[in-house]
């Protein structure tokens, strides 16, 4: 660890490389986290199948790319396909657990997650798949910093989708209905909002965003049926840290997580990368709890 730290001091340019890479990796996490925040906030459901949506989005791109379509064009297709899947899952399973105890919805989505994993394994086999975007790399600072272009594309997608989502929620009629439902589903129903439709759209929208993320994942890294957990966990962590209300803070938390994770991997060795990040989560939760309990004292 000490030599790794020394290495960073001797070659500060490495920090820049790590930071850039980390932030770009974080952008992908942001996509999965947007959706999770949305579903959690509006429907009060923690969707454990988040990562499986990402995985399936990846397969959509992989198969279309194998059929000769340029993988970059398949991002919207993956989103659309997953939108349909999300909608179907809502209509068959999720609507039954919307108003129930959170534990029940966690169980239900956990079930969906296992089902999708095994289904993917059965249909697509356990092989590791990738799709070639055909994009190269940017060279900065005399080639000392190399940034792969597909990661930049992912980053831009994350920004655009985040902004679109924000505007959609703020401006559009349906967005307003979603926000109203999030605030108080019962009151929204009384005011004439069709909350069932709001829920189905929210869940489908979440799946679509994850699908787009998966499409980018398969172009940047790879996809296999058991890919999901990493994304579910990180999305969960990001949303816990950033809170449900604010897309901007979700984005910031995601980029921060990506960067911290990359630095931790470099300094402590990759074996402690995830451990460090999740220890951080525990620390943040404890700290928050301490803050909250202080507030409670005033309420007494």
């Amino acid at each position: 660890m000490v030599d790794n730290l020394l290495l960073l001091f001797n070659a500060p340019i490495l920090s820049a490389q790590l930071l850039v890479d980390g932030i770009l990796i974080g952008a992908i996490f942001a996509l999965a986290a947007y959706g999770m925040a949305l579903v959690w906030g509006v429907m009060d459901i923690i969707n454990i199948a988040q990562g499986e949506f990402v995985m399936l989005g990846g397969y959509v791109t992989f198969f279309l790319a194998a059929a000769g379509v340029h993988p970059l064009y398949t991002v919207p297709v993956a989103a659309a396909a997953l939108y349909l899947l999300g909608w179907a899952l809502y209509r068959t399973v999720v609507f039954r657990v919307v108003d129930k105890d959170m534990f029940i919805s966690i169980l239900a989505t956990f079930g969906i997650s296992i089902f999708l994993q095994q289904l993917a394994n059965q249909l697509f086999q356990a092989d590791v798949r990738t799709a070639e975007s055909g994009l190269g790399s940017f060279f900065l600072a005399d080639g000392l910093i190399v940034v792969s272009q597909i990661k930049v594309v992912s980053f831009i997608c994350a920004l655009i989708l985040g902004a679109t989502l924000f505007l959609f929620l703020k401006r559009s009629r349906l967005g307003q209905a979603i926000r109203a439902t999030a605030q108080n589903a019962r009151a929204a129903r009384i005011m004439g909002v069709n909350t069932d439709r709001v829920f189905s759209t929210t869940f489908a929208l979440n799946a679509a965003i994850c699908g787009a993320a998966g499409s980018l994942v398969v172009m940047t890294w790879l996809v296999h049926p058991y890919l999901g957990l990493a994304y579910t966990l990180r999305a969960f962590m990001i949303v816990t840290v950033a809170g449900l209300g604010n897309m901007a803070s979700v984005l910031l938390a995601s980029l921060g997580l990506g960067a911290v994770e990359n630095f931790a991997g470099f300094l402590l060795g990759t074996e402690y990368q995830a451990a460090f990040v999740f220890s951080l989560l525990v620390a943040i939760l404890v700290w928050r709890n301490a803050l909250l309990s202080r507030q409670r004292k005033y309420l007494k």
Binding site: L7, L18, I25, Q125, V128, N262
Partner: protein, 414 residues
């Protein structure tokens, strides 16, 4: 019960159970003129692809042996058959199924499952019941340090996977007039039993040559990105980068070394044939060294299948895909039994075990000869280099068809 009787399968099972009860558990599982083997293979779950390769390997062996008239034991010819169960890629299930094969189905000769993990769970069971267990897909070194008497493996143990890459680098350095001691090695291994075995082999050989290990990263099992490790590689400029993390590790390493334009004179990985890196990553994969147990271009030959290439053609005809080494070593495991039966001239379990232990046979898969711990020490690993999109065998030099390109040209010239 009436329903059960109507179903012919139940009737057969019932009859088998009655016969077994009459004969008693100590007699071998030979029904009429058919010898029955048992195997738990991963048909679902994360090893399902390789599990199928394993099953296909066994099935091709069964088909070929039966086609040739069967096995001659004590003057009589017997046909062979394998009874399979799906272990769902979980070791615990594998152990249960082994119990079931032995206790309920009365199987006396076990073939191995896929993966070291499942083999590790089944080996104690076969040991407990003193049932021979010949396997071709459990490469962990640990399997052969437990003093098992009934476990035999036809493949090279996992610590041998990348030793040859280190030795090759040392040889090349010597040819170029460099002291192998001056070489720097960067290692990135997944934190799982298999890859850590591979690491042990690399560390041992690197120490033997006096090389300097500059990076020793352990990749988490859910690796999604290698940027942190590769940034270190970029800074420390090692002479060799070795990576092992199954198909995921291979794909990530090759893809990200290319994306980040990491300059390294030698890149050696495991599982790049399983990950099909040459096919899916095309140019990015050029010059990568890949370790494998077997290749169809090798000049091994046996009386059952002929040459390795003939085996491969037969396999392709049967299953419509080229045989990966996982299939070849499974077939080889079955051949070890066939050879042992013929030499033992009996189905007596102890005699068969003795015969297996004394195996010294050439197969299309390579020579098989077990040491005292039950692992095959006669067969070397194979090292490919991807050249113009093809896997060319470059080591061991005796059987190599291609010549190593070293060092890997810089990215600006590729």
């Amino acid at each position: 019960m009436v329903k059960m009787l109507k179903n012919p399968r139940w009737a057969v099972l019932g009859a088998v159970a009655l016969v077994l009860a009459a004969v008693g558990p100590a007699s071998p599982k030979v029904e009429g003129d058919t010898i029955i083997f048992g195997a738990a293979v991963s048909l679902t779950g994360k090893y399902s692809t390789n599990g199928k390769n394993t099953q296909d390997g066994y099935e091709l062996g069964v088909k070929r042996i039966n086609e040739m008239g069967g096995v001659r034991v004590g003057g009589k010819y017997y046909r062979i058959k394998v009874l399979y169960y799906d272990d769902e890629s979980t070791p615990a299930r594998g152990a249960q199924l082994a119990e079931r094969l032995i206790n309920q189905d009365g199987v006396k000769f076990m073939l191995g499952p896929y993966s070291s993990g499942v083999t590790k769970a089944i080996a104690p069971v076969t040991e407990k019941y003193k049932i021979p267990h010949v396997e071709g897909n459990g490469a962990a070194r640990e399997l052969f340090t437990q003093g098992y008497k009934y476990l035999f493996a036809v493949l090279s143990t996992s610590d041998y996977y990348l030793r040859d890459a280190v030795n090759l680098a040392a040889e090349v350095a010597k040819q170029q007039g460099r002291d192998p001691k001056s070489l720097k090695i960067a290692m990135a291994f997944e934190n799982d039993p298999f890859s850590l075995d591979v690491r042990d082999g690399v560390v041992e050989d690197a120490k033997r040559w006096g090389m300097q290990i500059v990076i020793d990263d352990k990749l988490p099992t859910e690796i999604n990105d290698m940027a942190a490790t590769l940034t270190k590689v970029k800074a420390l400029k090692p002479d060799i980068l070795v990576v092992s993390g199954h198909a995921r590790g291979a794909t990530l390493a090759v893809r990200q070394v290319s994306d980040m334009k990491i300059e390294v004179p030698m890149l050696a990985v495991t599982h790049c044939d399983a990950a099909r890196v040459a096919e899916t990553l095309s140019k990015a994969a050029e010059y990568t060294l890949c370790a494998a147990q077997w290749d169809r271009s090798l000049n091994y030959k046996d009386k059952w299948f002929g040459t390795a290439e003939e085996y491969a053609k037969r396999f392709e005809k049967e299953f419509n895909y080229a045989p990966p080494y996982q299939a070849a070593e499974s077939t080889a495991a079955l051949l070890v039994y066939i050879d042992a039966f013929e030499r033992a001239g009996s189905f007596d379990i102890e005699k068969v075990r003795e015969a297996i232990a004394k195996t010294d046979v050439m197969t299309f898969y390579g020579p098989v000869k077990f040491d005292a711990t039950g692992k095959n020490t006669a067969k070397p690993m194979v090292l490919y280099q991807i050249q113009n999109g093809d896997y060319k065998v470059v080591a061991p030099t005796k059987v190599a068809e291609g010549k190593l390109i070293h060092p890997i040209p810089p990215w600006s010239k590729r």
